[in-house]
């Protein structure tokens, strides 16, 4: 678990995705190869803006152990402005979420391995009140 999370720190703390210079498509999570261009793909790492909109969501009432204290909570499909769609917890009340609402990335705790274990951090989303 420890090395698995450590390897992903860069991509979880910040939305570091990839961009195919051949076809202009952004990917998150990052890909080593562009599935459209295959051998022609020219992949480079990019920092995504962290801004996007909700395209669908679900309210979780039956939560896994690390999330029990937050239930009911919102998990949303968020389309980033660059294009990729990602699944993330959306930190707001279940009644606040709307399809199409603008959201932005925020740094939060994902969970922890008990009281003596490691703490996991990463990106979640919150409503972006300024422009929604």
């Amino acid at each position: 678990m420890l090395p698995r999370f450590w390897r992903k720190i860069k991509y979880r703390y910040n939305l570091v995705g990839t961009y195919c210079e051949n076809c202009g498509t952004y990917y998150y999570p990052p890909r080593n190869l562009c599935p459209k261009c295959r051998r022609k793909s020219r992949i480079k790492e990019v920092q995504l803006s962290g801004k996007g909109k909700v395209i669908s969501y679900s309210i979780v009432h039956d939560a896994p152990e690390n999330f029990k204290m937050m239930k009911p909570y919102v998990v949303a499909l968020i389309q980033l402005d660059e294009g990729p769609v990602i699944t993330s917890q959306l930190v707001c009340k279940p009644e606040e979420v709307k399809i199409g609402m603008r959201v932005k990335a925020i740094f939060r705790k994902y969970g922890e391995e008990g009281e003596s274990g490691i703490i996991y951090y990463g990106t979640k989303f919150v409503p972006d009140e300024k422009i929604s």
Partner: protein, 345 residues
């Protein structure tokens, strides 16, 4: 010219009122509000801690500075509620801010003044030419024993400042510290909540250190209270900073803008730095600001800052007071859940 190049702040959105805490413990809310000068305090969400607060404040500071994060050569995070007893918060911040791997870093602890201690370290490194920019953060999710007087004030929040020589919005014209071994407030290793000396936290601790640091700095720089447009003192409650201002000869006008404690409580390492940021939100070129932190145990760091012309073009929204005045009220039940004060056995 060494000074503040940029600043950023973060205050969690939840608030709990003094009335709500007093209701649970059978105390008189009006007496407490009058005694402490606090109406409500901020409460972190379940997935927030000192590291997440430090990252959010740091991100705002770096974004407003408009610098490449890799130009930051030092990260110091001051807190008395670091998520780990062993494992630095500073590395989490460095990674989340994209600072790279070549930077000096450490976590600092000096009760409520660890953030300003970080400013002094960064100043020294910048002055020595060892780094271009340094990031000093004060952030806390302070603990308090249920039913203790501290529960009305122990809050959460943080502020980050970028220290450097280029693009300085507020020059630090001098700094001075007054330190002594005074056990007014402490938390032993492994203990969940801090203990304090009650009234002993006043005269021998807060007032002695702040007045000594203020006088020491003003004497060194040949300044008097009327030379400052603003003064910010550490804010453990609403009463102490007002009284210490009066003792030193500062007016209510000078301290008003930076006095946030009545609406968010004591954000510990974030407290005086958040007050400074609220002042920087409004300050005009040429104005002089006095900042004095206090950390139990005990010590005070004093700074005299002069606002430069650069502040005119500096992005200052969203403002600290807007963050302070926003928020959502919760009840005591949700508060103890969010603060993990429920024992599941």
């Amino acid at each position: 010219m060494v000074g503040i190049v940029s600043y950023g702040t973060y205050i969690p959105k939840y608030r709990i009122r003094v009335e709500e805490i007093a209701r649970i413990w059978g105390e008189n809310a009006e007496t407490i509000k009058n005694g402490l000068g606090i109406l409500q305090k901020s409460v972190p969400d379940f997935d927030e801690d000192t590291a997440t607060i430090a990252v959010e404040a740091g991100r705002e500071a770096v974004k407003r500075a408009g610098i490449d994060p890799k130009e930051i050569g030092a990260v110091y995070v001051g807190s008395e509620s670091h998520p780990y007893a062993v494992k630095p918060t500073a590395t989490i911040v460095g990674e989340a801010l994209g600072i790279g791997n070549e930077y000096f870093a450490a976590d600092l602890e000096f009760a409520c003044k660890a953030g300003t201690a970080g400013i002094q370290i960064c100043m020294g490194l910048v002055k020595a030419g060892m780094i271009k920019y340094g990031l000093a953060i004060g952030a806390d999710t302070s603990q308090s024993r249920p039913g203790d007087a501290l529960e009305y004030s122990a809050a959460a929040g943080g502020a980050a400042v970028v220290i450097g020589k280029d693009g300085v919005i507020a020059e630090i014209e001098g700094t001075y510290s007054f330190t002594s071994d005074t056990p007014d407030f402490w938390r032993r290793e492994g203990q969940p909540y801090p203990s304090h000396g009650g009234r002993f936290t006043g005269i021998p601790a807060y007032f002695r250190h702040i007045t000594s640091a203020a006088k020491g700095l003003m004497e060194e720089l040949g300044l008097k209270p009327s030379d400052f447009s603003y003064a910010v003192f550490h804010q453990p409650n609403g009463k102490f900073p007002v009284r210490v201002a009066k003792m030193l000869g500062f007016s209510t006008e000078q301290i008003k803008q930076g006095l946030l404690v009545s609406h968010i409580g004591n954000t510990y390492s974030g407290s005086s730095m958040l007050g400074l940021c609220a002042v920087l939100d409004e300050a005009k070129p040429g104005e002089r600001i006095l900042l004095i932190s206090f950390g139990s145990g005990a010590g005070s760091d004093a700074f005299s800052l002069i606002v430069t012309d650069e502040i005119e073009d500096f992005e200052r929204t969203p403002k600290v007071w807007d963050k302070v005045m926003s928020g959502e009220f919760i009840d005591y039940g949700l508060y103890v859940k969010l603060r993990r004060k429920i024992k599941f056995g």
